[in-house]
Assembly symmetry: C2
């Protein structure tokens, strides 16, 4: 893709460099494949920039991200590029000390979001993947107003990528970059089941 | 994403395992972002399976894939997971010995495709990324009939991911899995230029 020339020069008083380095909220939504996969692909670029990366998986999944997780952990520990911190639901958030709520996914999702909020305030990472975060939003487990305000007022230069189907309309409005992954054809339509190396 | 149950059990005489391990042709097309990025994200899964990976970049680009390339090369050389061979246009295909055609992109694209064809016949890789391959197809530099027949008759278990806008309709018809990346909003619409860590 050529770098191109923006069709409009905004009248916002910022220099090109300031505009260029503006932190982005990015949403990958839609019924097709590639939402999370593209987010982890972007993480490779963030790693290459030397940025600290925080991954937060908001939906329990046994094997779906094993390839991405192993690869990004290895990259993060390589001593080249940025670091990678990988947090996931289901195995318990790393910051969740009590065990009584293990099956309370709503509480886990809220704990996860609270941690993201603290990390954004502390500028812990430069690149965040909130994987499948649209689901706890859609299910009302995490308050959309709080998320929008936290993203809007986050300090510094922190990019945040949010993935998942059915992104709330107000999140889409608030995002800088939105890609809708549409399903044109999927092997499961003709009876093909998921397979290693492709779906996980 | 849950693994799910296919809505139809095909009457093709194959066992579930045979169907499950069927090699796929995958197309990422559409005007939105994430086509190549999702392909490189998939490559992380292929790497995790220990599969040899071949990346072929069909359009010259100075810096657009530096993050992905550095990350995948490091992974490929880590001694864990699969190997990674990365071929790109513009710097000359590694197999292009003569130098007189350096500026003949059409010839380079054809040379690239010939190499892919040889690799498919030899089962050199298990996972191919033909990045931005739709463009030489659209420009008539590489013959679509040849590509479709080569993909259809490829031996063994070789997955092939093809990315780029405006995938030819017959390629879409021939593919097992097609995702259309639609642009909902892009920062360049409001004057934002590309930035490091995001676009490259």
């Amino acid at each position: 893709m050529p770098q191109g020339r923006p069709p409009v020069i905004p009248d916002d008083g910022l220099t090109t460099r300031q505009r260029r380095n503006r932190p982005l909220v990015i949403v990958h939504t839609g019924p097709g494949k590639g939402k999370s996969t593209a987010a982890f692909g972007m993480a490779l670029r963030a790693w290459n920039q030397g940025w600290p990366i925080g991954v937060f998986q908001f939906v329990k999944s046994a094997k779906w991200r094993t390839g991405e997780e192993r690869a990004l952990r290895l990259l993060g520990e390589s001593g080249e590029g940025g670091t990678v911190a990988w947090h996931k639901m289901g195995e318990g958030w790393s910051w969740l000390r009590r065990s009584g709520t293990e099956h309370d996914h709503a509480a886990q999702a809220r704990e996860g979001w609270e941690q993201v909020r603290r990390d954004l305030a502390a500028e812990t990472y430069r690149f965040y993947v909130l994987d499948e975060f649209t689901y706890p939003l859609a299910w009302g487990w995490v308050a959309l107003d709080d998320v929008l305000e936290t993203l809007r007022s986050r300090p510094g230069y922190q990019h945040v990528v949010i993935t998942g189907r059915n992104a709330p309309e107000r999140l889409i409005e608030a995002a800088d970059l939105v890609t809708e992954m549409g399903k044109v054809r999927h092997p499961m339509d003709s009876g093909q089941k998921g397979q290693k190396g492709i779906e996980w």
